[in-house]
């Protein structure tokens, strides 16, 4: 079977369409299962009471934000290096979902911080790095939005994403450094509660649910992007450009 034909957007389009329900429905089921385990089976935490249950959405969202950025950079890089349009379109599609998960992680982090540590926003290393990750996403999305030519947008995005992904460890390190310097008392902020089996299970189920959801949503958006580009192309063809 020649898989390379799926590198063409037009050929991948129907395949993507068929795949979507295979990810969307299990995603919904896993969300339900994860929340069930998280709320009905996992016990109340000794230190944080029931407030800790926010982690079942906060932690998976944070991880997804990071994974999707790296994935986006990889797809963008492949699209640039091999001149593979579909790969670049995938990167553009991943960006918004990744940014969304990062935003969710910041907001739920704030909701978790207020009852446990007293303030809505805490400048600890993780939250600060997540905020910077959101800025990196916004930069990527803005750059692609500002460029009209699709291929230039793809390639420019690739450069930005690759520069970003290389900088992420440096940024994380510098934020860690900054944070440890400025902490007065050694309070480990937003520390996760001691993980029991059922909590870990709920966490992993929710993470899997987020992954499946991401695949489904990214494929839907990818189809939209394919349609948009194809329409633009045919519009140009009609005019004789």
């Amino acid at each position: 079977m020649n898989l390379y034909k799926y590198a063409s957007p037009a050929t991948f389009y129907p395949l993507a369409g068929k795949l979507i329900p295979w990810f969307a429905i299990p995603a919904a089921l896993l969300f339900a299962t994860g929340l069930f385990v998280g709320f009905f089976i996992a016990p109340t935490d000794f230190q944080q009471g029931d407030a800790y249950r926010i982690i079942f959405i906060h932690v998976p969202a944070a991880w997804m934000g990071m994974f999707l950025y790296v994935l986006m950079a990889i797809y963008a890089g492949i699209g640039w290096a091999f001149n593979a349009r579909l790969s670049s379109m995938m990167a553009s599609s991943l960006a918004i979902t990744g940014a969304m998960f990062t935003a969710i992680s910041l907001i739920t982090g704030a909701f978790w911080g207020k009852p446990t540590w007293g303030t809505w926003w805490v400048w600890d290393a993780r939250m600060t790095s997540t905020l910077i990750l959101l800025f990196l996403y916004i930069g990527f999305i803005s750059l692609q939005a500002a460029i009209d030519d699709a291929r230039r947008a793809d390639r420019a995005g690739a450069v930005l994403a690759l520069v970003g992904v290389i900088n992420v460890p440096i940024i994380y390190f510098s934020v860690q450094w900054w944070n440890t310097l400025h902490q007065g008392a050694t309070i480990r902020l937003l520390q996760k509660p001691t993980i029991r089996g059922s909590m870990l299970a709920a966490l992993l189920i929710m993470l899997a649910a987020c992954w499946l959801y991401s695949v489904a949503v990214v494929l839907i958006r990818l189809r939209c992007i394919i349609l948009e580009r194809e329409q633009n192309a045919s519009r140009f063809a009609e005019v004789g450009v």
Binding site: I132, F135, S142, L143, A156, V159, L160, I171, S174, W178
Partner: protein, 219 residues
């Protein structure tokens, strides 16, 4: 070739001296705004000085980045430079060096003067100067990537800021951190070493990224 590019850019910048000066004035004004907004209490000012001066330097750099490639792009020189047999890497390095001399070096030189407004000691002013001397090349280098990516786009300065400011954060943390260490009486050497390392890494990688971005923007 490198020398020629640097010299040419310096000459062109000299003919537009006003641009150079406006960057410096912007820097000075922004730094002066903070005490006006926060209050003149000396202890507080001494604490915020490192961050304020560094952030003002970042913002002033952002404003000047648009000029790095825009003028050559508009009159077609940039396309010609891309066609020369010389490696684009060198062209970029030359232009970035010229940009640093024109846009950043004045800030570095005037920073100690501005630092006096915040009642910083002589030792701290020296560290401020050194930190900016080591750190501003990073601003030019990483900034050049942003300038190359956004060539010819509407949205101009704001778009470059969105792209580049997050990438500046390590430089800000180490640079301002060094000055703050000095204010508190501890040694700034660790911060300055990290800043230097970051500068060297930027020097090695940014020109390549900028060259690639230029090719992408000019196709």
């Amino acid at each position: 070739m490198l020398r020629w590019i640097v010299w040419r850019d310096l000459m062109l910048a000299w003919r537009r001296r006003a641009d150079m000066l406006s960057t410096v004035f912007f820097f000075v004004i922004v730094v002066s705004l903070f005490p006006l907004g926060i209050g003149p209490e000396t202890q507080l000012l001494r604490t915020i000085a490192p961050g304020v001066v560094w952030v003002a330097a970042l913002l002033a750099s952002m404003l000047s980045l648009g000029r790095l490639f825009a003028n050559d792009y508009q009159d077609g020189t940039l396309e010609q430079l891309l066609l020369t047999p010389q490696p684009l890497f060198l062209v970029v390095l030359g232009k970035t060096l010229a940009h640093w001399i024109v846009a950043e070096l004045p800030l570095v030189l005037i920073a100690p003067l501005v630092g006096v407004q915040f009642d910083l000691s002589g030792e701290t002013l020296w560290i401020l100067f050194v930190s900016l001397l080591v750190g501003t090349p990073v601003l030019s280098l990483i900034g050049s990537v942003g300038a190359a990516l956004t060539l010819g786009l509407r949205g101009g300065g704001v778009l470059i800021s969105l792209l580049v400011l997050p990438l500046y954060i390590p430089a800000l943390i180490f640079g301002a951190g060094a000055v703050e260490a000095s204010v508190m009486g501890t040694s700034p050497s660790a911060h300055l070493s990290l800043l230097g390392a970051f500068a060297i890494v930027s020097l090695l990688f940014s020109p390549w990224a900028t060259a690639a971005a230029l090719r992408i923007s000019l196709e």
